[in-house]
């Protein structure tokens, strides 16, 4: 089981902020996950959406495994 988190406007467009699901066979990195979930949720394909694995922002394509926490982060607006 991997845990997926969706923040900001992505939570609205997906209708949920968190989802637990097994990674399908053959999906082992962040860009693979983006393409897989982006099929149903094109908002995730937007290049401004960054991915964090276990609360670490990934730069480029990062490996992932079951039990990881994978967060989709739209552009941030602190301050």
């Amino acid at each position: 089981m991997a845990r997926f988190l969706f923040f900001g406007r992505l939570r609205d467009s997906l209708g949920t902020g968190a989802m637990d699901t097994a990674l399908p066979e053959g999906i082992g990195d962040t860009e693979g996950v983006r393409a897989w979930l982006g099929g149903d949720h094109p908002a995730l394909l937007d290049p401004s959406v960054r991915i964090a694995v276990n609360a670490e922002i990934s730069h480029g394509n990062a490996p992932i495994a079951d039990r990881d926490e994978i967060a989709f982060l739209p552009p941030m607006s602190g301050g």
């Binding site: 923040f7 609360a55 922002i57 941030m76 607006s77 301050g79």
Partner: protein, 148 residues
């Protein structure tokens, strides 16, 4: 010192406490960000700030550490709210203590530019016309690029 909290705070009391802690500094600069009562002509009744606690804490800490080193600060404090806020409430407070004024001014400015674009917070404004997500604007990204 970094604090990410849902409770409101008193910027004046925070500044006084900070000044007391940073004895020996020659200059203290501070910034307080407040919830605006309107945004782009629409009135705002509530500002919701969502965050990703594990990543937010880490990112804000890293921004603070990098500013301390870059500007040679005596001390630095960053307070940031999350949750539901009303117009007029403080969202963020940054204070920097340094030997001289330029470092203190620049450190606060730098930290704010980085919080705007890099800190994992997501803002949503609620008002009579519905809800609207706020994302970093081009202006925020340009401000951030000044510190490259």
């Amino acid at each position: 010192m970094i604090r990410i909290q849902s409770e409101s705070f008193d910027p004046g009391a925070e500044l006084a406490a900070f000044a007391e802690r940073s004895g020996g500094a020659g200059a203290i600069a501070s910034f307080t960000g407040l919830v605006r009562p309107d945004s782009k002509g629409a009135s705002v009744s509530t500002l919701e700030l969502e965050h990703y606690p594990a990543l937010t804490e880490k990112t804000v800490t890293a921004i603070g550490e990098s500013a301390r080193a870059r500007f040679g600060l005596v001390d630095l404090v960053i307070l940031h709210r999350h949750g539901k806020l009303e117009p007029g409430e403080p969202i963020v407070f940054v204070a920097a203590a340094a030997a001289h004024r330029r470092a203190a001014f620049d450190a606060v400015d730098h930290v704010m530019d980085r919080l705007k674009t890099e800190a994992p917070f997501w803002k949503r404004e609620l008002g009579p016309e519905g809800a609207r997500w706020i994302e970093a604007r081009d202006e925020d990204l340009k401000d951030r690029a000044r510190w490259a």
